[in-house]
């Protein structure tokens, strides 16, 4: 159900986010392709808790069984703190499951859409929220 809803959201997002931004971002998110998502399960190596975007580094195995290091973008610490995060909310070695939009021009970089911590609890990411595509107001 969750995956289904998210897929729908991302379909909507493909339209809405063409020139839009993720919550907490100060610029367009067009460097990420929200129609192209990846699911990664791995272990946190570092939560880089800095502005303008926090970054979560995760070590995971790729399809060939080779270790890869993922770089996931998140909102700024300011936005995350207001939604309950702390700088040590995810600790090195913690197992995480992440769904992310992939960077258009670089491998193993993404914008985190869904993060589930070691206990399976979802954390606020700022980008699961998708604007309802709002058309330009028409001339009466």
């Amino acid at each position: 159900m969750m995956a289904k809803t998210l897929s729908f959201r991302l379909l909507v997002a493909g339209v809405a986010l063409a020139a839009a931004s993720a919550a907490g971002a100060h610029h367009s998110q067009s460097e990420f392709d929200f129609k192209s998502t990846v699911e990664v399960e791995g272990f946190v190596t570092n939560l880089d808790w800095r502005s303008p975007h926090s970054r979560l580094y995760v070590e995971a195995l790729d399809a060939q069984g080779k270790t890869v290091n993922w770089d996931f973008e998140l909102p700024s610490p300011m936005t995350l703190m207001r939604r309950g995060w702390k700088r040590d909310s995810l600790k090195p070695g913690e197992k995480v499951k992440i769904k992310a939009a992939t960077a258009r021009h670089f491998p193993n970089i993404g914008y985190a859409i869904v993060i589930r911590d070691g206990s399976g609890k979802p954390l606020f990411t700022g980008v699961t929220q998708i604007y309802e595509p709002e058309p330009q107001a028409k001339t009466p």
């Binding site: 610029h27 367009s28 502005s51 970054r55 939604r83 670089f106 330009q136 107001a137």
Partner: protein, 282 residues
């Protein structure tokens, strides 16, 4: 004698522990202020802020805009599952300042040409991607908070992005003639009834109004009309007269919601900016 030395060592250790703890105290307290009750605001019997209460006033009788503000955007709740994380709410005008204006902003041909490349490049050309200052009026719609401090002679706006500030003089001085252009320009305000009318000139020639790249130039004169509807709501009408960028003067209204039981949190963009390199190279 041994005991005495041990006691001395113990005393020294505890003194250092005390110093370290005191040193950490500001950091500990900082986190606590996110839930710290905003003093002096009307509250309901249960303690919740009474956002519908009348707008507060200063001693001289004018509306008092002091407080922390954030663009107020009620948005659809997409959460269907019990463990879904509720979305953040931001102004749609952050993307397109004229989104609610019939037909959109009245761009000149020059503006349209500017926006063709700006849109094609995504956010690569946006000054904010490069951590440039949060220029008003764009700053009203950004995903950071604005704190207003109001005195009889001056209103100061603090903005979380790059820990920036803006001054609006209320002391009757005229706008400058032939000013050196800056990110926020030069602002004076006067009262028209309960509305604070802020006039601004001296804006730089290369600024954006929104993520999609609507321009604003050195030829612009901006008028902001601030109305505090009640404790919780402020309406900011942004009127732009910029003959280089727009075929006619226009205005839009942004709704700002008072943020209570919170604090300003700095967001220093240059600390770790890494998105510029992610856009498609030239």
């Amino acid at each position: 004698m041994r005991r005495s030395r041990a006691a001395d060592r113990s005393s020294v250790i505890w003194r250092w522990v005390g110093i370290v703890v005191l040193g950490l105290a500001p950091a500990i307290a900082l986190a606590q202020w996110l839930g710290y009750p905003t003093p002096g605001i009307p509250r309901k019997p249960g303690g919740a802020p009474d956002m519908q209460a009348p707008a507060p006033r200063t001693r001289d009788g004018h509306p008092d805009f002091s407080g922390i503000w954030f663009a107020n955007v009620p948005s659809k709740d997409y959460c269907k599952e019990k463990d879904c994380v509720q979305e953040e709410r931001m102004a749609r005008e952050q993307i397109n300042l004229g989104i609610k204006m019939p037909g959109g902003l009245p761009y000149t041909e020059w503006s349209k040409q500017q926006m063709v490349s700006r849109r094609a490049h995504g956010g690569r050309d946006d000054p904010h991607t490069y951590c440039k200052p949060p220029n008003y009026p764009r700053a009203w719609t950004l995903p950071q908070h604005t704190k207003i401090i109001q005195t009889p002679d001056e209103m100061v706006l603090l903005h979380e992005f790059n820990a920036a500030y803006r001054e609006v003089y209320l002391d009757g001085r005229p706008l400058p003639v032939d000013p050196n252009p800056t990110w926020n320009g030069y602002s004076t305000g006067h009262w028209e009834g309960d509305t604070l009318v802020i006039e601004t000139n001296g804006i730089r020639d290369d600024m954006w109004l929104d993520i999609q790249g609507s321009p604003i130039t050195e030829s612009a004169r901006v008028t902001e009309r601030l109305k505090r509807v009640n404790l919780g709501l402020m309406k900011v009408e942004i009127a732009v007269n910029d003959p280089k960028a727009y075929t006619r003067p226009w205005s839009v209204t942004i709704e700002m919601a008072l943020q209570v039981d919170t604090q300003m949190l700095e967001e220093i963009c240059m600390d770790n900016e890494q998105d510029v390199k992610l856009y498609r190279p030239e």
